[in-house]
């Protein structure tokens, strides 16, 4: 049979090229849509009107500011309550990161490794409860906290403590992803360790955790970012006590309460950029664990 190699090959190449360009075009458009607000926000946080250092760029039609300044950042940290909020949020998020990770991983370990009565039931209840939005119980939680003196008209640290409890308390319900990961670690490792004389907690600490870095990092990041950006609970529990505000609540109040939006416009942008910084740093530091699987060589392979 006669075969025109050039033609068939060329046809396939061309078709591939066309479909690839189509895909990349769509992806490019999507990424521009997604990244543009961010770039715009960063640019505005450095923007200023010509010859007027504290003049808001609000209402300016251009994306690119005509002049650049760090004044907004200086103002943010010297003239507003923002540093306090920032510190509050950092404390809450770090505390939650530690507590939630511990709760989640312990729960996942137990569900993955132990067989006990009503294990399935507890798993299902956990899964269903986890699907309900958390703010459903907001009112109840507020009154509970008020009852034990952690909400209402109380000191700042108590309110911060209350928030830590809210965020980390229900963390164990999110055990499912970690359980899935633990399930992939060979059970004979546990058994070997148990025969070697390890207790349950030793198996968890010395065998399971070192092998689970990716999922620990994932869980830690998730439990850091959740309180870091949460608005609903924080605003409801903190009410008008601006000394205990988290960044999300504080920044929102600026733009929501302001009579002249322009007054806070660039400050808000600068604050928002500051909020993004720690998450970015955390992610950059920990990302290699996401991709690095380290179970190689454990069992047959």
């Amino acid at each position: 049979m006669d075969y025109d190699f050039k033609k068939t090959n060329g046809g396939m190449k061309r078709r591939k090229a066309i479909s690839k360009s189509a895909i990349y075009t769509i992806l490019t458009i999507l990424s521009i849509c997604w990244i543009l607000p961010l770039i715009w926000l960063i640019l505005q946080s450095f923007g200023m009107e010509p010859d007027a250092p504290y003049q808001s760029t609000y209402g300016s039609p251009d994306i690119l500011p005509s002049h650049y300044t760090v004044n907004w950042y200086v103002k943010l940290f010297t003239e507003t309550e923002f540093p306090t909020w920032y510190l509050n949020t950092l404390i809450i998020s770090l505390a939650c990161m530690v507590l939630s990770t511990f709760f989640t991983l312990s729960m996942a370990y137990v569900m993955s490794r132990f067989r006990f009565k009503s294990r399935k039931t507890i798993q299902n209840i956990g899964l269903i409860l986890g699907m309900f939005p958390g703010f459903m119980s907001m009112v109840a939680i507020y009154y509970i906290f008020k009852g034990i003196g952690l909400a209402g008209n109380v000191e700042n640290w108590k309110q911060i403590l209350a928030l830590i409890m809210v965020y980390s308390g229900s963390a164990a319900l999110g055990y499912y992803v970690s359980k899935g990961f633990f399930d992939t670690v060979s059970k004979s490792l546990d058994e070997a360790a148990r025969i070697d004389g390890a207790t349950n907690s030793q198996v968890f600490r010395k065998i399971m955790l070192p092998l689970s870095k990716p999922i620990i990092v994932y869980t830690a990041l998730m439990s850091f970012t959740a309180p870091w950006g949460d608005f609903i609970f924080a605003s409801f529990i903190l009410k008008e006590n601006s000394g205990a505000y988290t960044v999300a609540v504080g920044l929102y109040r600026w733009i929501a309460m302001a009579e002249i939006p322009a007054q806070w416009y660039n400050l808000f942008a600068a604050g928002a950029v500051c909020v993004a910084v720690p998450i970015t740093i955390l992610f950059l530091l920990l990302q290699r664990y996401f991709v690095e699987g380290i179970t190689g060589g454990a069992v047959k392979g």
Binding site: A192, A193, D196, I294, G297, V299, K300, G301
Partner: protein, 678 residues
């Protein structure tokens, strides 16, 4: 370094009412320094048994002892065992050195130097010193398995458990590691238990092999004996490659001391009668179809052998030749008419010399080595050439209370009342008593040990229950007295020691009998008495049933509240409440938990483990059986019937008696699922 004892071990997965028995009544005594191999197809329960020994699986019922300690409820780490897993189970985040030191570091009994020394020593033995600072992922499969062996060695365990350690390695490495593990066993002088599905590993490594199938032990024996004396068709087919040939055949005794074997296609071969000397006569009638097994290596093709064994020679047509290099395997069709390939009973496999010039579709004459055939019952698949024959079948005439047995005229004991006529007597090989070598009547040696260590505890019986029965010390049950009633004199023709059993071939007036004569030594002739209660008679008018040496009664656990959260427990057997010893109570509650009170139980005990006493199960003596050598009372206790050895007590028919049980030797079975608890 320790012996192990597994007594009636069960693993039952609860799955509805009946439960799935993954391991069914596993009994075994493993001696110190033995290399035991569990072998069987997948799903036969071998790994489960190993994991129960390791403590990774709970034991449903039964008793596991390591050394002198019952370890059913002991944590794996306290059992002093080490385990090597099929997939190595090395800790991937630790170096080889850390992997091996892990157990020692956890135990906190060792200094850094000691740990280092031990790890280095183990690494030296296994030749992995140069890898000590590598992580497992940088090692090859064989090296990883060495590390996992090393991790076991450093702990200096009493027992090594190996769960298919070589099945992830390639064939060459497997053969190499096989010899290394054997060497290691020699060097360490420790008990090894090795699980595999590979019969080559089993045969080459084990001192004894346990063949399992569907949770049931098929045979426990040395590799040689497994190969030579398979207990059933499964073992015969499982051990040896290529598989043993099986054919349906009938056997018939012919004149001239030969046995004619007729195959399905009417081919015939002749065997010497000696070959089937231990086979039950009922299989030699020419009608009963049995399975004849012969290994490929016992079918010979060379002319010299064929000419010497013309009686077992026949022709067949080769259909496939597999030249393996060291040997050649020839597949033949026996039935030329039907070219049935799938049906193994018309195919014959044989091993021939690799130099042999043999072609496909060639008619060849082969001969079976008559000394190497195996015969199996077609239904039960059990061997009908047992090493220790269970019984002798003897024809005899009964006339006015006397039996004309083997040329001797013997008076039958009054317990055996038979009309005159011809009978076939089934005399078990253990139904003979020899003057001067009278052994204890029961063969339950193991429970004697139990008898002496059993504490009759106070734990569950601080206050007596209403009808509580007194307990009696073991010694009181053990006063057997035998009346030696000589039946005949016998000549010892040959003696064969099989395991711990001594099998005698007796010659009585030209008749031959098999008898178990443990302890019989240094004599040529014996004065023999017959234990008539074990003998059954089959006649035209009357067939006697085997006398029950073991009594079974249904029972249940009862409790009585004696105070706040305080209970006493007893075993209700035939209306009497029997004291529960710590041992029995613990066993029952461990196996059944709270269900113990609702569960139907069966207790069993031998006729020598029950006696008439001043308290106990109440009953009426229905009759007294006088067997000449001893007297047995048949007691009706409610619905149940209990056979009791009477000894010297003057109990008469119609008497009301109370029966006491020898508790340390009481067996308890969960009736519904058939699980033996004790």
């Amino acid at each position: 370094m320790a012996s192990l004892s597994l007594k009636h071990i069960y693993k039952v997965y609860d799955n509805g009412a009946n439960g799935v028995k993954a391991v069914n009544d596993f009994c075994m005594e493993i001696e110190d320094k033995e290399f035991i191999v569990f072998v069987g197809p997948s799903g036969c329960g071998k790994s489960t048994t190993l994991r129960m020994i390791a403590g990774l699986e709970e034991i449903t019922a039964g008793e596991l002892m390591i050394g002198d300690e019952v370890v059913n409820d002991v944590e794996p780490k306290e059992r002093n065992i080490a385990m090597v897993f099929q997939n190595y189970a090395l800790y991937p985040h630790m170096t080889v050195r850390e992997n091996m030191a892990f157990a020692l570091e956890l135990s906190k009994k060792f200094t850094k130097e000691e740990i280092n020394d031990r790890v280095n020593e183990a690494a030296r033995i296994l030749d992995i010193e140069q890898f000590l600072d590598r992580k497992p992922r940088a090692l090859s499969g064989g090296q990883r398995q060495r590390v996992s062996l090393g991790r076991a060695i450093v702990r200096d365990p009493k027992v090594f458990l190996l769960d298919e350690p070589l099945s992830n390695l390639d064939a060459k490495l497997r053969a190499q590691m096989r010899t290394e593990i054997s060497k290691l066993h020699n060097k360490l002088q420790t008990t090894f238990i090795y699980v595999t599905h590979d019969q080559v590993e089993a045969m080459t490594m084990g001192t004894r092999i346990v063949v399992m199938k569907l949770g049931v032990v098929q045979q426990i024996d040395t590799p040689k004996n497994l190969y030579k004396y398979p207990a059933n068709k499964f073992v015969a087919g499982f051990i040896g490659t290529p598989q043993m040939n099986f054919f349906d055949a009938t056997l018939k005794k012919t004149e001239g001391g030969k046995v004619e074997v007729t195959f399905a296609n009417n081919r015939k071969i002749l065997l010497d009668e000696d070959v089937v000397a231990k086979t039950d006569g009922k299989y030699l009638d020419g009608n009963t179809t049995v399975t004849l097994g012969v290994r490929p290596e016992d079918v010979h093709w060379d002319e010299k052998f064929v000419s010497e064994h013309k009686e077992t020679a026949f022709t067949c047509r080769t259909s496939l030749i597999e030249a393996l290099g060291s040997e050649t395997i020839v597949y033949c069709e026996l039935d030329e008419e039907n070219d049935a390939i799938g049906d193994s009973s018309t195919r014959l496999t044989l091993k021939v010399d690799p130099k042999a010039e043999i072609d496909k579709n060639q008619d060849i004459t082969v001969a079976i080595d008559p000394q190497c055939i195996h015969l199996f019952d077609n239904e039960t698949e059990m061997t009908i050439m047992p090493r220790i024959p269970q019984y002798n079948l003897v024809k005899a005439k009964v006339k006015s209370g006397k039996v004309d047995l083997l040329g001797a005229d013997i008076a039958l004991p009054s317990a055996i009342d038979l009309p005159d006529g011809d009978y076939i007597l089934n005399i078990p090989s253990d139904a003979f008593i020899f003057k001067g070598f009278e052994t204890p009547l029961t063969s339950v040696e193991e429970s004697h040990k139990l008898c002496s260590v059993e504490p009759v505890g106070e734990k569950y019986a601080n206050k007596a229950l209403k009808n509580l029965v007194k307990t009696y010390p073991c010694e009181q049950f053990e006063q057997y007295e035998l009346q030696f009633n000589k039946a005949f004199d016998a000549e010892i023709e040959s003696v064969e020691d099989i395991g711990k059993t001594r099998l005698l071939r007796l010659k009585v007036n030209k008749n031959k009998l098999f008898a178990i004569g443990n302890g019989v030594d240094n004599v040529k002739t014996l004065s023999v008495a017959v234990d008539w209660k074990k003998v059954t008679f089959t006649g035209e008018e009357k067939v006697t049933e085997a006398f029950a040496l073991t009594n079974t009664l249904s029972a249940r656990v009862v409790k009585e509240q004696t105070g706040k959260k305080k209970y006493n427990f007893a075993l209700e057997v035939a209306g009497a409440e029997i004291y529960l010893t710590d041992y029995i109570a613990t066993k029952i509650f461990n196996a059944l938990g709270r269900k113990a009170f609702e569960t139907e139980l069966t207790v069993d005990f031998g006729i020598y483990d029950v006696m008439t006493a001043d308290s106990g199960i109440e009953g009426v003596v229905e009759k007294i059986l006088d067997y000449g050598t001893e007297k047995i009372a048949v007691v009706k206790a409610g619905e149940a019937q209990v056979n009791v050895y009477l000894g010297n007590s003057g109990v008469k028919q119609g008497d009301n008696v109370k029966l006491a049980l020898n508790l340390p030797r009481l067996g308890v079975v969960e009736t519904l699922r058939g699980i033996r608890i004790i």
